[in-house]
Amino acid sequence: MADILIAAILTIITAATPLVYAALGEMITEKSGVLNLGVEGMILVGAVAGFATIHSTGSAALAIFAGLAAGALLASVFALLVLGFQATQVATGLALTIFGIGVSALVGQDLVGIAYDGLPKISIPLLSSIPVIGPLLFQHDILVYGSFALVFLVAWFLKNTRPGLVLRAVGNSHDAAHAIGYPVIRIRYMAILFGGAMAGLAGAYLSLAYSPLWIENMSAGRGWIALALVVFATWRPWRVFFGAYLFGGITIFQLHAQAFGVGVPAQIMSMLPYLATIVVLVIISRDINKIKLNAPMCIGKPFHPTA
């Protein structure tokens, strides 16, 4: 029984990890006051870049970096459009997703059907041999460890560092931040790039570890779940992290429920993350203070520096 439970939890971790990356990245982007709806597209680009790199070079490190860079590259297009040319964020983000789906399918044409062993697991000496806790926490690949570190880093960055404070300030009121003398555009540029890089990592995890192969549109809506997750977590990093595990858990539960023949249609199960987000949105909307305290007030608003 314990073995089954451990196995189940391990699959939840693998389901949650890409969500952690993509959602934390998007959260940083949104904290700076920019809504990037292109997460799904950036994940796919990261996935195909990662898989193509491992296929041609065999280097996991290079592949991970390629995923990260591809996500950031696509995000830089978005940044140029919305910051440089003042394009509408919502429309540009949607276009980015559609573009990402298309370009990843095009690039990945020849990669379909090739398999890869998956990222090597790194067992931490001593700790990994502890029963139950060992296999749960200390026998993962580098990207899972990285996702643990990332949530600590992001939370610490936002709460305790000056750049984190400035980032929140820019998202809170870009006019005020500009008046005090902070470079709003540059800060947003960096936040968007970070968001893209993390989405790229999420993609790399999907094609290198979660199911090590490439298929068209393999992100299967995870980008949208990540977007929902940020709102669900009311822009707080630890809530994003636990939310990712909750949503990851639901995904896994849905798979197992199908396998055990539970009489709930699969479609209903796949609705659950979105339903949960809607419910949470309704609940937090009732308390304006909660939103005021953590939500970036300037989200989605274009910034005209001369005004």
């Binding site: 300030a169 809170n172 005020a176 931040a177 500009h178 005090i180 902070y182 005021k292 007030m297």
Partner: protein
């Protein structure tokens, strides 16, 4: 005019000028925006430790000038010197490095952050949090600016928010403090306190560039004044040798019209009666209205004074029908109970209302003037017949507004958003007044409009009252209320005071009413409100 100014500064014997160069010197500052020359060859000198007034009407170019000094706007031409050395202030960081700090008219604060975080954002990096907290407490004690570093900005009053800005500036050991209309949001008592702080800073050698159009304040606070009109310097004077009247004449450039006489008006029957109006706040950012009682008679203008955010918005919404309340007879228009009815029903009873916010509230920016006319006038004027718009009558009514209120626009098809603030306000006021309502509720009728437009609007309100309309004016501008109203009440945290006749009340007493001190005029409270 400019040559006169040049001669003035040469002949003025000024010991300090000879001994040390001016702290800040501007020569020929020019800045144009599409269609407007906001500043034209402006010269200005500020000495160390001097409180220097920058005087001018709305739109005279004061804010543009200081934004260039602070590096937010780039001048098209002109030279800035700091302690006799030419400087190029490209951005606010450069200005701050020189020692120039600025308190904005609209605060640059972050609502959802704490006082400490807000201040930390404005000071140099590398300052330790607890050390910063100590310095905040020290400065707030030294200058009498009490402030709790841990509170979130959205929970603070406007006066407290301004303190954050001031402390943020003082932490940087400034040489020049620029204040853009700092008192427009303060009670008279808070103004007195602010002036004490500013005088103290001046004694310590900090120069202050004080922007205002309030003459009494400038008389009370400043030593020198530079007066701007239409983007040009029209005079640079020693304040001591001027009277408020002479300053006003220079600022306005034309003889001031005496306030319209009120004696033509005769108060008639009660048109608007508010009797025990309660309204519970829906969230912590709004104010609960508590037992509001007020009667406005026909031919009478009643004013409601108050510091922003004390329930004015909520009161306006309750009266014009945006918020409905119970019981129905808490609000009566022409003796018809209507507190539970919406805006259109109330308009049907004879009410019109003008909100504070012009764009997106008083008018739809992306719609043309014709459409905006239709939006509030369709009912009273019968501009819609069997579901169809009577375009001809709508157009003639709209043209009538543009003509009688002298609205400068490209015609009835001009988008509301394309009009300047003053013109749009004239249009909105005209649209409501020309419907000859029997009750008119208006909030901040002349907020942010130039003196000419303000005069037109005031004149129209007087005339409307003479013709028997009951008018309720909500405003933060006490001078405006004193000039317009027959009676004035004050609102403070959702409670409305008795409306006192203007002939029996002073500005100081209104100030105390605004601060929530009841029974103005009693001997005991006299010492609270000595003007600075």
């Amino acid at each position: 005019m400019e040559s006169a100014f040049g001669a003035l500064s040469k002949t003025m014997p000024h010991d300090q000028t000879r001994m040390m160069p001016p702290l800040l010197q501007l020569q020929g500052m020019t800045k144009s925006f599409p269609g407007v020359l906001a500043n034209e060859a402006v010269d200005l000198e500020v000495m160390e430790g001097e409180i220097h007034a920058l005087l001018g009407e709305n739109g005279a170019g004061k804010s543009t000038l200081v934004k260039m000094i602070y590096g937010i706007l780039k001048p098209d031409a002109g030279v800035m010197s700091w302690k006799n050395a030419p400087v190029n202030i490209q951005n606010p960081a450069v200005a701050r490095a020189l020692g120039i700090v600025m308190v904005f008219q609209h605060f640059s604060l972050f609502d959802s952050m704490s006082v400490l975080e807000n201040i930390a954002l404005g000071v140099e990096r590398g300052t330790d949090k607890s050390e910063l907290e100590n310095r905040i407490v020290e400065i707030s004690n030294r200058y009498g600016l009490p402030l709790d570093p841990g509170r979130h900005v959205y929970t603070l009053s406007v006066g407290e928010r301004q303190r954050i800005e001031i402390i943020r500036c003082l932490l940087q050991n400034p040489k020049l403090l620029v204040m853009d209309e700092p008192t427009s949001v303060l009670t008279p008592q808070e103004v007195t306190k602010l002036f004490e702080t500013l005088n103290r800073l001046s004694e310590e050698g900090v120069a202050i560039l004080y922007i205002s159009h309030k003459l009494n304040e400038i008389k009370a606070l400043c030593r020198k004044a530079t007066i701007l009109r239409n983007g040009k310097v029209v005079a640079s004077v020693e304040v001591e040798s001027e009277t408020p009247q002479s300053l006003a004449a220079k600022m306005m450039g034309e003889a001031l019209q005496a306030p319209s006489a009120r004696h033509h008006r005769k108060a008639g029957e009660v048109r608007l009666e508010i009797d025990g109006l309660h309204n519970t706040a829906t969230d912590q950012f709004s104010i609960s209205l508590k037992d509001i009682r007020l009667k406005v008679q026909s031919g009478e203008i009643v004013g409601i004074a108050g510091v922003a955010g004390n329930g004015q918005d909520e009161l306006l919404r309750a009266i014009n029908g945006e918020e409905m309340c119970q019981p129905a007879d808490a609000i009566q228009i022409n003796h018809q109970p209507c507190a539970n009815q919406g805006p259109n029903q109330r308009r049907g009873l004879g009410m019109a209302s003008i909100p504070e916010e012009r764009l997106g509230y008083g008018a739809v920016p992306a719609m043309n003037l014709l459409q905006n006319t239709l939006l509030t006038a369709f009912q009273r004027l019968g501009l819609v017949k069997a579901g169809f718009v009577d375009n001809r009558r709508c157009k003639s009514f709209c043209l009538g507004i543009l003509e009688s209120f002298n609205v400068t626009s490209s015609g009835v098809l001009a988008e509301a958003g394309s009009l300047s603030g003053g013109n749009l306000q004239k249009f909105i006021v005209g649209r409501e007044i020309n419907q000859t309502p029997s009750v008119l509720v208006v909030s901040q009728p002349t907020w942010g409009v130039d003196a000419g437009a303000a005069q037109t609007i005031h004149h129209a309100l007087h005339k409307l009252a003479e013709n028997g309309t009951a008018i309720l004016v909500i405003s933060q501008d006490l001078d405006e209320l004193m000039g317009l109203c027959d009676r004035i009440a004050a609102i403070c945290s959702g409670t409305l005071t008795r409306a006192a006749p203007v002939s029996e009340i002073t500005i100081e007493q209104i100030g105390m009413m605004m601060a929530g001190i009841e029974n103005p005029g009693t001997e005991k409270s006299q010492d609270v409100c000595q003007p600075g």
